[in-house]
């Protein structure tokens, strides 16, 4: 709160020399090792890397779902804990995590109810968010009546309900088929174009990372660390056809090279 302009901090997310170490019997596991990352407001940042590279851990640290062993993390100028209490971010998990006893509408209303908003207001906001993810007319269905892709859209609508400035997504489309995934990527891209919220997106798909983000952060395992950051040269407005352009392929290639390099370093260390 010592930030001179707490309403508009320079960084949506600022991570400085953050490490996460899990104690273990033989050798402690270094899930994150001295990670530095600065994310400006309005950026769409993809965290990519092989499993065990700490990309999900990094996201969970920012979301106050896990705590760092050393270093510093600031979210909108606040500690992750304070940012969470201030409801500064929305979080979309790998699976939709919808409550089966609530309707689609009531699921989207959940965070708003927890915030203590008036019932009419909760309902209006939830209806609006459902419309934005293309689920108008499904309000009174129960989650089990929807397909996996629709369920994940409900969970995105739920995360956007209280208009967080920061949206964190942990492989949200990982469990979906490729066709559904493409469509949701397109919708997410459109959503970001319209509202320009800061998005931190964890994925292990190179195509997804390149298509969606303005910056790709490549990570590597053992210890989990950032090995390269690639700023996308793709135009701001994107469509799925871009994936066949030479520019897209060039960036994808760069990401793939960086991932390989990370693995090489791993082999050297081992």
């Amino acid at each position: 709160m010592n930030d001179p302009e707490p309403t508009a901090p320079d960084h949506a997310v600022l991570v400085r020399r953050a490490s996460v170490v899990y104690p273990a019997a033989d050798a402690p596991v270094r899930a994150l090792h001295e990670v530095d990352l600065a994310i400006a407001p309005g950026e769409f940042v993809a965290l990519i890397g092989p499993s065990g590279c700490g990309k999900t851990t990094l996201l969970r640290v920012i979301a106050d779902l896990e705590s760092i062993t050393s270093g510093e993390v600031l979210v909108n100028g606040l500690s992750p804990h304070d940012a969470r209490l201030a409801r500064a971010y929305g979080y979309v998990f790998q699976s939709p995590a919808l409550f089966p006893w609530r309707t689609v509408l009531a699921n989207v209303m959940l965070p708003l109810q927890i915030q203590g908003r008036k019932p009419e207001q909760c309902k209006a906001v939830a209806m609006e968010q459902l419309g934005r993810v293309g689920l108008a007319g499904f309000e009174l269905k129960y989650p089990w009546q929807l397909s996996g892709g629709m369920q994940q859209r409900v969970s995105i609508a739920r995360a956007l309900g209280f208009e967080p400035r920061l949206l964190m997504m942990d492989e949200p489309f990982g469990a979906l088929d490729e066709i559904t995934r493409d469509r949701l990527n397109e919708q997410l891209q459109g959503l970001w174009q319209r509202e320009k919220r800061t998005v931190v997106f964890v994925t292990h798909s190179i195509a997804e990372a390149v298509y969606l983000s303005t910056r790709i952060v490549v990570m590597s395992p053992r210890p989990g660390r950032v090995t390269k950051q690639i700023v996308s040269t793709l135009p701001e407005v994107r469509h799925l056809g871009l994936r066949d352009t030479s520019e897209f392929i060039a960036i994808a290639h760069e990401v793939r090279e960086a991932l390989h390099a990370g693995h090489g370093a791993d082999a050297d260390e081992g």
């Binding site: 106050d64 929305g90 409550f99 927890i114 129960y142």
Partner: protein
């Protein structure tokens, strides 16, 4: 897992009425036949000595007829029990101690009071246990141990103590019923309140939900599919508790008291009527809980 409970419910609902009734009717038919045969076997000696002694040339048909119509048989025939039950309900006013419905009502009252308080106590106990590791470690062994003490041994002590404190009538009986009710509820609710997956708990965490909000919006609804089966067990156990509590007090009314007076006077038909009525009462109470369950959980995944 709630998933299993849901699948079981589905199996229940989807089968047609005939498919559900037929097996039950078949077992009932076999039971009645065995019962009548049992009457012949068990009552034959008494019938020969008491009924047929002044009838020198009795046949097998006479013997069978006698075993099914004796006054104080070892095992009364189904129609004797049915007739006794019917006449007690129809021939006597509702407030007469000879009317079994009065006794059923008295027992139902203490069962329901015990059930309601037992359920509340069980849920509160479970909520305390899942929110505090200390309570979990301190209470759970005692709760389990409490159920290993036979209720028949506890009942007179509780009745005497509560009687000394000035509680009589429904309260002591309800206390015994409650003692049996709370246990299944606590065990099921501890499991149910812990059933939310990590991702659901973390979701509430990212919303900065308070403990109370998490309990009310996540834990409690998630526990309901666990709660209802335990309520069905609890209400049946509560009925047992209420009836057992009626035995040592020399209570004037209640199905338990009725069983006791029946056995004092060797009135086997009266014992069996009370027994049959208590079984029907147990079925009714369990069905009522199942009905509430169906209404409350009708929206959940089936």
């Amino acid at each position: 897992m709630p998933g299993t409970a849901r699948t079981l419910m589905k199996a229940d609902h989807s089968s047609s009425l005939a498919q559900r009734v037929l097996p039950i009717a078949a077992v009932l038919g076999v039971t009645v036949i065995v019962w009548y045969l049992g009457c012949i076997a068990l009552n034959a000696q008494g019938a020969i000595e008491r009924v047929l002694s002044n009838q020198p040339n009795w046949t097998t048909t006479d013997l069978v007829a006698a075993t099914w119509a004796m006054e104080r048989p070892v095992l009364p025939a189904p129609h004797q029990v049915a007739f006794d039950l019917w006449s007690s309900i129809v021939d006597w006013p509702l407030d007469s101690p000879r009317n079994l419905l009065l006794h059923a009502a008295v027992t139902t009252q203490s069962t329901l009071v015990g059930f309601i308080f037992g359920t509340l106590f069980g849920v509160l106990l479970a909520a305390a246990i899942v929110h505090s590791r200390t309570l979990d470690r301190a209470l759970l062994p005692w709760i389990v141990a409490s159920q290993t003490v036979p209720v028949l041994a506890i009942a007179p002590i509780v009745l005497v103590i509560l009687g000394t404190l000035g509680f009589s009538g429904v309260a002591p009986k309800a206390a015994i019923a409650m003692y049996l009710c709370f246990f299944p509820v606590t065990v099921a609710m501890v499991q149910g309140l812990r059933s939310p997956q990590r991702i659901e708990t973390e979701l509430m965490h990212t919303y900065a939900a308070t403990r109370l909000q998490s309990f009310w919006m996540l834990r409690l609804p998630a526990a309901l599919p666990y709660l209802f089966p335990s309520l069905r067990v609890a209400i049946a156990a509560g009925l047992v508790g209420a009836m057992v509590a009626e035995l040592p007090t020399g209570a004037q009314a209640g199905l338990g008291a009725r069983l006791l007076t029946g056995s004092y006077y060797g009135n086997t038909v009266a014992i069996w009527s009370a027994l049959v009525l208590s079984a029907l009462l147990g079925l009714t109470l369990t069905a009522a809980v199942a009905g509430v369950e169906r209404v409350v959980l009708r929206r959940q995944q089936r």
